[in-house]
Amino acid sequence: MDKMLRNKKAIILFMLPAFLLFTLVLFIPIVQSVYYSFCDYKGITEPVYVGLKNYKTLLSDKTFGIALKNSMFFLIFSCVSQLIVGLIFAALLTNIKKGRNAFKNIIYLPCVLSSAALGLMWMFIFSPKLGINQLLEKCGVEEAPLWLMDTKGYIILPMWVIAFVSLWQYVGQSMMLYMAQISGISKSLMEASYIDGCTKAQTFRYITLPLIKPMVATAMSLNAIGSLKFFDLIFNMTEGGPNHKTEVLATHLYQQGFKYFKYGYASAIGVVLLILCLLVTLFINKVVKTEQYEM
């Protein structure tokens, strides 16, 4: 048997398809992308090496600054809010007897729906004359806010709106991750804590929270990468407007690459995005992940 499992031909046959695909469609393009980011490469012409020019332009590109700021905002907001809200939902759901499945399924629903469609839906709900503003009008509010068009403040209102919509859409996933971990905590451990006279809140604080810490790392890195890749919702809710103020890295990349055909420049944005993704994953895994408790 050992001979069969060491058969070189078999190994090659099993590994080759995945290896080839992965290399050709993912690895080589990444390398190419890095190369393009050092090139002047516009649409229909061939790439010409220009050194660090694209990266220098990035520094003076105001829209890139806004996009970076917004991406960072999403990153922090989604990590924090998903952690808190996800935990609260998970804690509440594990503490009810009936209807847990129903609530769970409802909250999880938007996770499987197309964020392009949901983005459009919320775009209309937050548009000046429809949805929420019609409701506000009925309640007698005269100057209803322009949810997706306001431009005042450091983090403008549309960004908050989009951030909350993304929280609404994806919190189900964090909730489920925490629930899976909470229900994995052994019954005896919980019971022991009750016998020792802990209240529910104390049990949650001293038993549940430390035990789900590893899951926090998983959920957080999922959220973090997800929020850096964020594209669909913004594209369909504001398209980066008004005046590029809700642009994030992914939408800016799309605009520069496929609206102005600055392939080289867009590749540089892509490289920044890639580096950010790698850094954030490393960071979360280093800082949040601690030793696994025996459960």
């Binding site: 099993f14 393009p29 949805g131 919980m190 990349l253």
Partner: protein, 290 residues
Amino acid sequence: MSSTRSAIAEPDFSSKKKTSGIQIVIYVFLVLISITYILPLLWVFNVSFKTNKEIFTSPFSLPENITFDNFSFAWTAGRLGTATLNSFIVCAVALILSMLIGSMAAFGIARLRWKGAKLAMTYFLTGMMIPIHCVLIPLFTRFAKIGLSNSLLGIIIPYVTFSLPITIFIMTGFFKGMPNELIECACIEGANIFQIFMKICLPLGKTGLCVTGLMTFIGNWNELLLAMVFISDDAKKTLPVALSKFVGPYNTNYSQMFAAIIIAIIPTIVVYCLFSNQIVDGLTAGAVKG
């Protein structure tokens, strides 16, 4: 996976009193939350039957006459019918290919004995951290040159590739967990390596295949960016792209837009309602492992 499911079926052990005050508060809160989830969808569903005028005059009442004009317009002018079919073809093919190629590689890593197995695993896992945006431009320019842009195959290939890391990761876990004796047995009975893979390991890894299949399918079904960049031909657009592009020219035909949104999400909602528990648990199990 099994642990998650059993956990959900587990009865609540913490509260032994009858429904207390706190419980009621929790229920009220949860109901309110659920409303924020269901109400927007219901509202869109409701207004999608109205005329444009009605949306402004009576936005919250039930529609005066139920007509399907909006839907038929969205279906034909927005080409949502073709788009649904395209999405289905793309996702189904990508699903089959990624499961096959992915589990082959997973088998190679988990079961076959060679030195580079660990290294190969790391290589595939790095793929999980790479956002699709970074390879968009090189892929697009290359595919355009070889005539793969603007074809369904052109998006199937990247979809398969981007589904591989998670498939390999989860399936490797499954294959590693299988008892050695099974394979030894099969070996003694004269099965070759392919038979072992196809007849023993794949059927045993069914749960894993379901989980990865689900993740792959849903992920690809909803993917917008790559499909938008690669496909320009209206007849080949996938659902999210067709929907997003429908807004442009019909920006002000609100009721038709709403109908289009409903058409786009109804299939997913129906499937979800039928298999919600399996889907939620499966996706969570996948995410836990990833």
